[in-house]
């Protein structure tokens, strides 16, 4: 009975969040502010400055920040501020697509295998164990070395190849706990089909876990894509934070102490990662009320 209390309580929290819970969950609030703030700045900023600063060689080469160009310029003669504003949303897009695919696959696999069990369960569980055990970077490097990834969407799909095992495992574990509960038994007695029970009775109770898992997958997607880009694998024609970082690193911006060049993408990525991390921690706490005890 203790297990059922957690998800049910969270669902009611989601729909009627009490003021005290909202105020106390500072991780969620700070994280949302950071991520949504960055997205808004990226959206409005890139519209406001236009694309002229993105052209190569138009802004002067490797110039330190001035009043006119407060973020300086890079080695290709672009305005780093303009580039940065244009890079925020595509970077987030990679994470959103990869995280979305990973979570969707994870929900379907986890729900079906956890609820229906049987041989499909063994197969999917083994596949997830295998995919978790392989260092994603190793296989992603091989794939992106041969398949020349030039679009943000393809990059996201490649990264998503390793985004599903973790959601699958956690959704499956929660489903296993839920399927033994009384309300599932009652639904079964009332003659509902198994699939209908899975999607109408179990799925709504999993919502907090799914959202928390989605944010974690977005984090993982951006982490992996920036990692691949640092290796020089990834779209080079679309502005992304990973591309900025790789270009700065390639040009030896750190060694040459061109702090504005590597500093802008590094700082933005750090804010983005901290924001996403805090959101997923905050959602974890919503989904798992036991964690709340520690804050008193």
């Amino acid at each position: 009975m203790a297990q059922i209390a957690a998800p049910l309580q969270t669902v009611s929290l989601r729909f009627r969040p009490s003021v005290s819970t909202r105020v106390r969950n500072w991780q969620l609030a700070t994280g949302l502010a950071l991520v949504l703030g960055l997205a808004l700045i990226g959206l409005l900023g890139s519209l406001a400055v236009g694309e002229s600063g993105l052209k190569l060689g138009t802004a002067g080469f490797v110039k330190a920040p001035t009043l006119e160009r407060p973020f300086g310029t890079d080695g290709s003669g672009r305005d780093i501020g303009v580039f940065l504003l244009h890079a925020v949303l595509p970077t987030m897009k990679i994470g959103l697509i990869a995280g979305g695919i990973g979570t969707a696959v994870g929900v379907v696999f986890g729900l079906l295998t956890g609820f229906l069990r049987g041989p499909i369960d063994s197969i999917v569980r083994t596949a997830a164990d295998v995919a978790l055990a392989i260092p994603a970077l190793a296989v992603l490097v091989v794939i992106s070395a041969y398949v020349h990834v030039q679009s943000v969407e393809l990059m996201a799909v490649v990264v998503a190849l390793f985004a599903w095992p973790f959601p699958t495992r956690s959704i499956r574990a929660q489903t296993l706990a839920l399927r033994e509960q009384g309300f599932v038994e009652i639904a079964r007695l009332s003659g509902k089909g198994e699939l209908l029970i899975a999607f109408t009775e179990i799925l709504p109770n999993l919502l907090p876990y799914i959202i928390a898992g989605f944010v974690a997958s977005v984090f993982g997607g951006i982490l992996a894509s920036v990692g691949l880009q640092l290796l020089g694998l990834g779209p080079r024609l679309v502005p992304t934070l990973g591309l900025m970082l790789e270009e700065a690193f390639q040009a030896g911006a750190i060694v040459r102490n061109l702090w504005w060049w590597w500093g802008a993408p590094t700082a933005t990525l750090i804010l983005l990662f901290i924001g996403l991390f805090l959101i997923s921690l905050g959602l974890d706490e919503v989904a798992n009320p036991r964690l709340r005890r520690a804050r008193r």
């Binding site: 490097v141 990692g227 290796l231 590094t266 990662f273 805090l278 005890r293």
Partner: protein, 335 residues
């Protein structure tokens, strides 16, 4: 109950499955990609202005070695049998060096860095995490939770950039790059050892800080559920020393899920380490992978990724086989 034969067999089968699937992906991806893999590689290298004197020889050797003219199933079997001997053929960029030999030279550097930082981060992070949740911890310790969150959130490769900037250039405490000459002989061996540590300090720090944050947060979550347990209250009522209660009763039980998490996180840790190596030009497998990608050295890329997967799968296997000694309740009838 401990280790049962059925569990060992199942776990070994999973290990073989992991290695086999990786090998198969490595086999299929180049062949599914359009065009002749070798011709494409050499063509690309030549179009980039690299002169290849022995292109014909490499292609002939490669074709003979992998039997690229034969039907795909035959190629596949030959490929797998070569892999069991860890044969990958010759590096394209450093012909006539064998890929296996090049990777073998870099592997100890990576494994050394990996083992040291992972064990240290796990021990320090878990202890810190347990203290974060322990009711008797001083107030300032519990205030470290946000610090752990920030440490865990920033990926190691971004920490590497910040550490380079702070400790190698702004305040040059540590060297920024690589290691000194490897392989000096005799009396200087100990100096070499110290020098290697000195040069590894910054990469290690970048990985450590991330690890400590992540393990601390995980352990804090486990410890929170442990703190209310009856056996802790009993231990306290018996008048056991607080340190004993903390380590032997609290941490001992809370750490079990952390060990399982360690086996799962290994792949992640290796990825982080590889990228940090590149940032610091540390002479390990990660840097080698980066150079191989820049050189379009596909033989090397395949060799490195396969060896990495092999290393990670082996470590995870060891952890999983040792786990029943930590948690005797586990009989592994069904997970």
């Amino acid at each position: 109950m401990g280790l049962t034969l059925g569990y060992v067999v199942r776990r070994l089968a999973l290990f073989v499955l992991i290695v086999w699937i990786t090998a198969t992906i490595n086999f299929l991806v180049p062949r599914l990609a359009p065009g002749d893999p070798m011709g494409a590689v050499l063509g690309r290298m030549e179009s980039q202005g690299q002169k290849i004197d022995n292109a014909g020889e490499i292609i002939a050797q490669y074709r003979r070695f992998f039997g690229l003219d034969e039907p795909l199933p035959v190629q596949y079997v030959k490929y797998l049998s070569a892999l069991t001997r860890l044969e990958f053929g010759y590096s394209l960029a450093a012909f006539p060096a064998k890929a296996t030999d090049i990777v073998a030279r870099a592997l100890p550097w990576t494994l050394g860095l990996l083992a040291t930082t992972t064990l240290l981060a796990f021990a320090l992070g878990s202890t810190l995490g347990a203290l974060l949740a322990w009711p008797r911890s001083p107030r300032f310790v519990r205030g470290l939770v946000p610090v752990a969150m920030v440490l865990a959130a920033i990926p190691p490769y971004l920490k590497a950039i910040l550490l380079l900037f702070l400790l190698a250039f702004t305040f040059p405490v540590f060297p920024a790059f690589g290691t000194s000459q490897i392989g000096k002989i005799g009396a200087e061996a100990f100096d070499n050892f110290l020098d290697a540590i000195y040069h590894s300090a910054l990469p290690a720090l970048a990985i450590l800080l991330s690890g400590i944050g992540a393990w601390a947060l995980g352990m804090r979550g486990m410890m929170i559920s442990t703190v209310g347990s009856d056996y802790l209250m009993l231990a306290e009522a018996k008048g056991l020393p607080p340190a004993r209660i903390f380590f032997r009763y609290g941490m001992r039980n809370a750490i079990l899920p952390q060990v399982t998490a360690l086996a799962i996180a290994l792949g992640h840790i290796v990825t982080g380490t590889a990228l940090v190596e590149i940032m610091f030009s540390y002479p390990g497998v990660g840097l080698l992978l980066y150079r191989s990608i820049t050189d379009n050295d596909f033989v090397m890329i395949q060799a490195i990724t396969f060896m990495l997967v092999l290393a990670v799968a082996t470590m995870a296997l060891l952890i999983d086989l040792l786990y029943p000694r930590l948690d005797p309740r586990i009989g592994y009838a069904r997970r």
